[in-house]
């Protein structure tokens, strides 16, 4: 067991050995610009194409439907701002859920200020939206429905296929933010009726600062960045080749080992959940059934999540609570508030997210230390 326990895989993951290995040539000898016409450039271009094929295959998409970006946030921003032009600019209604990442919600805000009818759907106690509410809100002339595949804070997996169908019934284009889900649960863009999808490399063993957007063939999405015309003219800027290759390798590996990884992570997660729920005044948050494999999230009555995370840190455990703002302080989670918890309840949140490296011994250590820390925080000592 390493000297610290990393239980924050929803925040980011270790770059897998295979991904790092795949990246190295492009940080060293294969440094040519993939747009260059000479042989080294063509080699790099080929690597980029292969990465695109790998990523497309992982989602049941065509290579021509994958655009590489600088990460999930960029993909989300691009999609929502593009929504205006997707359907000829006539439809003005955009629909999302209250538990989306801020990359979606804050972009929705700017669209609202630009005159769009931006509707935010509430969720139930488990963090899922209601399909009836979605249909009612969408009507027959919505431009875009954007609902995440799985929630980053509470791990709830949304009924994506049903949401996609409902979106299409209303004439809307369906986007899903799959940043937290990609590489962890099966995603098939055709079967799930997904028109556009955001993903991010560092959530499944790839490097940070690289992600992508799937856009179904034929959807007239406007460019996200203007410039030299890379990514078939839609996302200019010299490609982050090493990052893209590393992300593709990590995604390929994650999908190949998905069942095995998920079984292991779920087993550890369920042990962890059972053990943590033995602590009095503790609740599981998120959907007990439809949740990400390694994802466990809790509320502790009478405990400040921020203090809890700091004490866990002192005990060598990396965990999270709420959503960190850029200053590094923790804000009350908008997700928990949307799920109907009070601000006071939401303060006592803890998220423990496991990955392929976690072990039974680490769960033992967590379950040994956590109850004492909770007792200490509640006694105010």
């Amino acid at each position: 067991m390493s000297e610290w326990i990393y239980a924050d895989h929803a925040a980011t993951t270790r770059v897998s050995d295979r991904a790092l290995e795949a990246m190295m040539p492009f940080l060293r000898e294969e440094y040519a610009n993939p747009s260059a016409v000479y042989a080294p450039g063509r080699r790099v271009r080929r690597a980029l194409d292969r990465a695109r094929e790998t990523v497309a295959a992982a989602f049941g998409a065509q290579p021509g439907e994958i655009y590489f970006t600088g990460g999930g946030t960029e993909s989300d921003n691009w999609v929502i701002r593009a929504a205006a032009e997707l359907q000829g600019g006539e439809k003005k209604r955009l629909i999302t859920s209250a538990v989306e990442h801020h990359a979606i919600l804050r972009t929705f805000e700017t669209m609202r200020r630009r005159g769009y009818e931006a509707k935010v759907l509430g969720v139930d106690r488990n963090g899922r939206i209601s399909l009836e509410a979605l249909r009612a809100a969408a009507g027959k002339d919505a431009a875009l429905v954007s609902v995440m595949t799985a929630n980053n804070e509470v791990g709830t997996v949304m009924p994506v296929a049903e949401i996609g169908a409902a979106a299409h019934d209303s004439g809307a284009v369906f986007h899903t933010d799959a940043v937290q889900a990609a590489g962890h649960i099966p995603i098939d863009v055709d079967r799930m009726g997904i028109d556009m999808m955001s993903f991010s490399g560092h959530k499944f063993g790839g490097p940070k600062g690289v992600g992508g957007l799937f856009v179904r063939k034929g959807l007239p999405i406007p460019p996200g960045l203007f410039g030299g015309g890379q990514e078939r003219g839609l996302r200019s800027g010299t490609e982050n080749v090493a990052g893209i290759v590393g992300m593709a390798a990590a995604l390929e590996e994650s999908c190949r080992n998905m069942r095995e990884n998920a079984e292991k992570a779920s087993r550890l997660r369920d042990r962890l959940i059972r053990g943590v729920l033995r602590i009095p005044g503790t609740r599981l948050t998120g959907d007990p059934e439809n949740r990400l494999p390694g994802h466990a999230s809790f509320l502790f009555d009478g405990v400040e999540g921020e203090a809890l995370v700091l004490l866990l840190d002192q005990n060598g455990i990396c965990a999270s609570s709420g959503s960190a703002c850029s200053a590094g302080a923790l804000e009350p989670s908008h997700v928990l508030l949307a799920m109907g918890f009070s601000a006071e309840e939401a303060r006592g949140s803890l998220r423990l997210t496991l990955g392929p490296d976690n072990t039974d011994a680490e769960i033992d250590a967590l379950l040994e230390k956590l109850p004492n820390i909770i007792v200490r925080l509640r006694s105010g000592a």
Binding site: A307, L311, A327, G328, A329, E331, R376
Partner: protein, 360 residues
């Protein structure tokens, strides 16, 4: 290994130098910056993530001097114990001092609690003040800073014995010029950063606008009256005025008129001559004694009734639970309900409390 101390770092020069000095003294030092509000939530339009846009400064100072740095989010407590109290005080017709509440509830309350939880023996701040243990009485005393012009004991009077025993003020024996010199010598990025003066969450000093637009307090126009109750005109709401104010009343008189009193019950603002602003006795509530457990008989003291004023000689009398009566030797101008009155014996802070509205 030295004792552990967690220094409250605002990103400014004082707390940065405080951290350096504690390291020199052999303490095991870490830094913490408090995240107290989001700018947009308090109506500051500059859209940054955090109140203290100075978090980045503090972090870079901490990295520069080689200490760990934390950020604690005390937004909930700040809203409840500082901003809401400030608004309620104004609604009651008082002129509250939120910096005192922030020190009391946030810095020496919440921050000390959190620091102890994380294993710190002490907290420290860049305040200009001194804490000393009195051998004879065994009590912890709060004393003025060596640099009298920078002394901040006025905003620290609410500190408890426990808080004083676990707080270090490394700047208490230094002058501001020395502090700036130390900062410059150590290459601290913020060595020339100006001192902050205003209430942090109302940086433009327009409290009425803050209360109306951010806190949603509806100002209710009412009457200006003289001391006999005769109506002199219409005021724009109690929150727009403060005791001793002369300008901005929107009325003209043959001789200058001053705000003497704000009466919430009748929603009137009483105006009068400058001489009527002077008062010779008042009562303070919510008193915190530092030099002794309780006041048992009359006691001579210098009394300071606002941050920027010097002390005036007075006698303190015990008065009910948690209260004391102050009788000045000479009447003092514009004693304002909601502000703090702090009692001194020379350099020593005896205690202090909140000025209560008169019963007349």
């Amino acid at each position: 290994m030295g004792k552990k101390v967690m220094v409250g770092m605002s990103g400014g020069v004082d707390s940065s130098v405080a951290a350096c000095l504690l390291m020199d003294q052999g303490y095991e030092v870490s830094g913490v910056t408090l995240h107290l509000y989001n700018n947009e939530d308090v109506g500051i339009r500059k859209r940054t993530c955090c109140s203290i846009a100075d978090v980045e400064d503090a972090r870079s100072v901490a990295a520069h001097i080689g200490i760990e740095h934390f950020v604690f989010n005390f937004g909930t407590e700040f809203r409840r114990d500082v901003i809401a109290r400030f608004a309620r005080g104004y609604e009651r017709g008082e002129t509250p001092n939120p910096c005192i509440d922030c020190n009391r509830y946030i810095k020496f309350g919440k921050m000390l609690e959190r620091a102890r939880l994380l294993g710190a023996d002490f907290i420290a701040t860049g305040h200009y003040a001194r804490a000393e243990r009195d051998a004879a009485s065994g009590r912890w005393l709060l004393k003025k800073a060596k640099d009298a012009s920078k002394d901040q004991t006025y905003v620290l009077y609410a500190m408890t014995q426990d808080e004083l025993a676990h707080t270090l003020f490394p700047l208490g024996g230094l002058c501001k010029t020395e502090v700036r010199r130390i900062a410059a010598e150590r290459g601290l990025v913020n060595a020339r950063k100006p001192d902050s003066e205003d209430i942090c969450f109302v940086p433009n000093g327009n409290y009425a606008e803050f209360l109306e637009h951010v806190m949603g307090i509806r100002r209710q126009p009412g009457n200006f009256v003289d001391r006999n109750g005769s109506v002199l005109g219409t005021h724009q709401g109690l929150i727009r005025y403060t005791i001793g104010q002369r300008k901005g009343l929107g009325l003209s008189f043959e001789s200058p008129k001053y705000v003497l009193k704000k009466d919430r019950a009748s929603n009137t603002v009483v105006l009068g001559d400058e001489k009527d602003l002077f008062c010779s006795r008042f009562v303070v509530g919510d008193v915190n004694w530092i030099a002794w457990e309780r006041l048992t008989g009359p006691k001579e003291a210098g009394v300071k009734v606002r941050y920027s004023q010097s002390e005036a000689p007075a006698t303190l009398y015990p008065f009910e639970e948690n209260r004391a009566e102050v009788r000045f030797r000479e009447p003092q101008r514009a004693v304002t309900p909601g502000q703090a009155a702090v009692f001194y014996d020379g350099d020593t802070v005896l205690g202090g409390g909140t000025i209560l509205a008169g019963e007349d």
